[in-house]
Amino acid sequence: MNGEKTFIEIPAFFAGSQMSTGPLLVSAKSNGIEIQEAQAEFGFAHRGMLDLISAKTWERGRFYWSHLAPDSAPQVEKVFSEWVESGLRIHVPQRANEIRNLICELADSSRLLKCLAGCFRHLGISPARHQVHRMREGVLDLFELMTGSRHAFYFIQPGGVRWDVSDGFLSRTAQWCDRFEKDLELLQEFIHLVQVTNSALDSLGRVSFWREGKHGIELGVVSRMQVMIQQMASAAASIRAHVQDIAKMTGLNQVVGVYAMDWVAPEHEDIQIQHESLRGRWTLIAAPDANKGIRVRRLICPSYFGQQWIQESLLGAQEKDLPLVLESLDVSSLEVDQ
């Protein structure tokens, strides 16, 4: 570790749609004892989003991600929850994991349908646009059946999900999958017809994708629509598989996780997490236990998304404390009070 660069990767939020980011990456350089340099990167977040979430707490920042990219809200919640769970070693029941994945796939389908409707809007093909929106309403109905809300449901929480699937949800989702796949086939044929009858349309809306420091492939709007349909077909198959898996997990002994805002980590009875939801703060209170070898700190939030804050706060930190600092970063998001 002397003089070597230590790469520390901390999972951060990501949005599944146009504001996709990678993980929060912190690169630290130490002399073996203290951190001397630190560099934080937020992956591929749009600059406007970075400006918007700077100086916001994780809880509040999560709202921005969830609301400004509504169809990626479940993914954001899932990443946040997994982040807390990995830091606290919280076990999530398998059934809860399956439900999480199911809802994320549905949200992805909703996002793709909205993008597809936008493409039809740009091409001026209104009937197809209406049809796609009608398909999307089916997904929103499923969200409402599961969570009680069409958007921004905050259903995935650390520890699992808020509640189990409602009666009839699985059969309704399976029926939706059947209908959805047939509708996708019709859309696929329609788009192929559009492409064949007017090849000039594919030159519209060409978007080049920036990959690995250079422009990658270019796709016209019609080609992009075909890609979206393939993605949705794949999502539908995945949703069907999740439904079958959840249906097999019979009996409430496969309990979904609790709404873990006040959580006692099972392996460490002395550790408590308290969340002051009004202020969006996580406080980790733990007692030292020589037998278990837990070095504990009282960690205080609020915490900030600020890259500069991350970099400055790590300077002078003891390298031997780094795992704890990182764990506290995982949980409390950036502010440590020792």
Binding site: H67, H133, E137
Partner: protein, 129 residues
């Protein structure tokens, strides 16, 4: 413009930019809820609008645009604030506006049914009664 089937008059709606609330607004315009059957259509011209729908947060740029649009709307104009951000700040409480509002619809985002209810409170003739 008069429409004998839908009511006495088509109402033109001018909408401020938004993201999450716009999602439900698009759904309200689509075939399931179809606010056009109640006589509401969208316009981009303030001079042509009967109703200003404020949704989303008001940053300086959007506030300036909204105030300009409001001043250019004809007499008898109404204003509807849709969504928690427009009603009380929501995610962006530091943003302020000073446009008088006739109807508030809270929700994050408000459901299409709530939007329709708010529209019919302002223009009851859209209900066909």
């Amino acid at each position: 413009m008069s429409n004998g089937i839908l009511g006495s008059k088509m109402r033109k709606i001018l909408i401020t930019p938004a993201i999450c609330c716009a999602d439900e607004w698009f759904e309200a315009e689509e075939s399931r809820y179809d606010i056009e059957r109640l006589g509401f259509v969208r316009t981009t011209l303030p001079e042509d609008a009967d109703l200003l729908v404020i949704q989303g947060a008001m940053n300086e740029r959007i506030l300036a645009w909204t105030q300009d649009a409001y001043s250019r709307m004809p007499e008898g104009k109404k204003v509807l604030a849709s969504g928690t951000c427009a009603c009380g700040g929501g995610l962006f409480p530091e943003m302020k506006g000073n446009i008088p509002v006739d109807v508030f619809i809270v929700g994050c985002p408000p459901r299409p049914e709530a939007l329709i209810d708010g529209l019919l409170k302002i223009f009851p003739e859209g209900s066909g009664s």
